[in-house]
Every structure is written in C-alpha cells, then in structure tokens.
C-alpha cells in the first residue's frame, strides 16, 4: 500500500490547492512571471521531489485531470461556434491571416529549431507552439512529440506574447485594434487573449477568434506537414 501522501486524493487535493494559492498570489501581484499555472508546475515538482514521489505515480493519480483536458478540447468546439458568429463581414482577412500565420509559425519554428540541431521528436513537440495548450498536446502527442515539452514551451510562448506582443506590434506599425487583437490571439493563444482583453473589447474578441481558428487550422495542417515535409 502506498503512503497516505501519495494517494490519488492527496495528490489531486495538493494540485488543486496549489493552483488556487497561485491564483490568489497572482491577483495580489499582477506579475505575469508569477502566473498561477507556472507556480503550480514548480510547486508540484518541488513537492514531489521532496516527498520522493515519482512522476509515474503522479501521472496515474491525476488521470482525471487529463480526462477533463480531453473534454475541454471538445468544448473548444463551442468556443469556435461562438466566435465564428463574429466572422461575418471579415471572412477574407480572417481566413487568409489564419492560414498565413499558421504556416509561417509552423514553418519558422521547424526551420530554426532544425538548423540549431533539434531532432524530429523535439521538432514535433515544438511545431504547434502558437496554439492553445490542449490542442497543441492533442496534436503533438499522436505524432510522436513529448507532451510535457509541448505544454511548457507553448505556455512560455503565451507569457512572452502577453508581455512583449503589444510593444512589438506597435513598433512594427500594426496599430489597428482588430489586427492587434488578431495577432495576439494567433501568436500567444489564451494567454495573449488575456492581454488583448486588457487592450479593449474589439481586440479581445478578435483575439479569441484567432485563437480558436489557429487551433483548428494547426490541428488539420500539422499532421499533413509532419507526414510530407520533414
């Protein structure tokens, strides 16, 4: 029998309470670096190391969370439905920008990481880096990527986009609210959308749309690219 502290219930309670604690801390400080999810990653790892519990046990104990993540990928279909309502009248720029952004994102990350010596497994883990995490993992895992690497890299990309995205866009002459919002959502998924919502309602809406469509496009295109191009 495993010790009390390594039981499913104890590990789940620990995860949820650290997440809530991280949320409280984040609301106090408002520092992106102290994002609750980032804090939870670190705190859980530190705890498991200290208590001598290996990842296999933790993975088994939190199976219900992974199941819920699978459900929330399906639930993104609802988000897509809600966002597509806004598409009317801007179908052309939205669809072209999504397609171009999706291909540019996958292409550039593969080229650069490949040139710097990443192997195929790592390339597959990095390829969906601009997409919301559940979709990114659902895309990279069956293709042979490493889910933890995908989720952490995608997360950091989101933080980077959230902190620097708006400034980069402003310096490079993207000033229109719609274009700004769309770019933030396309490059930095939900975490970028959080920043876009701070900029304004128009930015936020377009950002959410971009996030949903980028996820959709990447899920369809990446398997094809993986099969034929690298």
């Amino acid at each position: 029998m495993e010790p009390f502290i390594a039981s499913d219930l104890a590990l789940l309670t620990l995860t949820v309470s650290l997440y809530c604690l991280g949320g409280m801390l984040y609301r106090r400080t408002r520092l992106m670096i102290l994002h609750p999810v980032l804090l939870t990653f670190v705190a859980v790892i530190v705890f498991l190391r200290a208590a001598g519990i290996d990842y296999a046990r933790y993975e088994e104990a939190t199976g219900i969370l992974r199941f819920a993540l699978g459900m929330s990928v399906v639930a993104l279909g609802y988000l897509l439905y809600e966002q597509v309502e806004r598409l009317r009248g801007s179908l052309l720029q939205v669809s072209v920008s999504t397609l171009v952004g999706c291909l540019a994102g996958i292409g550039s990350v593969l080229l650069i990481a490949g040139a710097l010596g990443a192997d195929r497994q790592l390339l597959t883990s990095l390829a969906p880096k601009s997409v919301t995490i559940p979709i990114a993992v659902a895309v990279s895992e069956p293709l042979g990527g490493i889910p933890p690497v995908t989720s952490v890299v995608v997360f950091c990309v989101g933080i980077f986009g959230n902190i620097c995205g708006e400034q980069i866009l402003r310096r490079c002459g993207v000033a229109e609210p719609e274009a700004r919002g769309f770019a933030l959502g396309a490059a930095a998924h939900g975490i970028g959308t959080a920043r876009a919502l701070e900029l304004g309602a128009v930015e936020g809406a377009l950002s959410g749309l971009a996030m949903a469509l980028m996820g959709f496009a990447t899920a369809l295109l990446l398997p094809l690219i993986e099969k034929y191009l690298y």
Partner: protein, 112 residues
C-alpha cells in the same frame, strides 16, 4: 448534464473516426469539430452546451498542470537543446505576430 453528454458523445464518435482513419488526427480534435458542426447545424442548442463548455474552458489551465509537471522527467530534452528551443520559439512567435498583424491590417485597408 445534456452539455456533458453532447461533449462525451462527440469525443466518443471522434475517437471512433480517429481509429478508422489510422489515428491521423486525435479523437478529441475530431470531437471538437463534430461539436462545432452539431451546433452550427442546430442539432444541439448552444444554451444546452454552454454551462458545461464554460466550466471546462474556465478550468482548462488546471487540467494541463499534470503535463507541465511531466517536465520533471523530460526537462533534459529542453536543457540539452536550450538554444534551439528558446531561439526558435521566440523568433517564431514574433514572426506569427507580425505576419498576422500585417496581413490582417493590409487586407482590411485594401477592402475600404
């Protein structure tokens, strides 16, 4: 409860289709598309799915914590390729930002 049922059915059918097509696209992604189609065609009403979907989407960040914690076993892959991971992610993120921003902006101006 209807919302949860819709989501589960879409996922289940998605998994079935995924297996039939040789796991080319994972089942939950197909499920996402099925849910979108079902909503668009009016097979299910948005109000029925909304509560379940909102709950799942709101708590999504918690659900992927186990994957992040998986880093304790696979952090070596990132450390061994730190330059590749960091440079590729940062540059590519800037590329997506600018490509999307410029494309969207110029197409909007073009239309007017």
């Amino acid at each position: 409860m209807i919302g949860i049922l819709c989501i589960l059915i879409c996922w289940l059918v998605g998994n079935g289709l995924s297996q039939l097509t040789g796991n080319y696209i994972s089942g939950n992604i197909i499920g996402m598309i099925l849910l979108f189609v079902a909503l668009s065609l009016g097979w299910v009403r948005a109000e029925q799915v909304r509560p379940a979907a909102k709950f799942l989407l709101g708590a999504m960040a918690l659900f992927f914590v186990p994957y992040g914690v998986g880093l304790m076993d696979s952090y070596r892959v990132i450390l061994d390729n730190l330059a590749a991971v960091v440079v590729a992610s940062v540059v590519s993120t800037v590329v997506v930002l600018l490509v999307c921003g410029w494309t969207y902006q110029s197409l909007t101006k073009h239309k007017r």
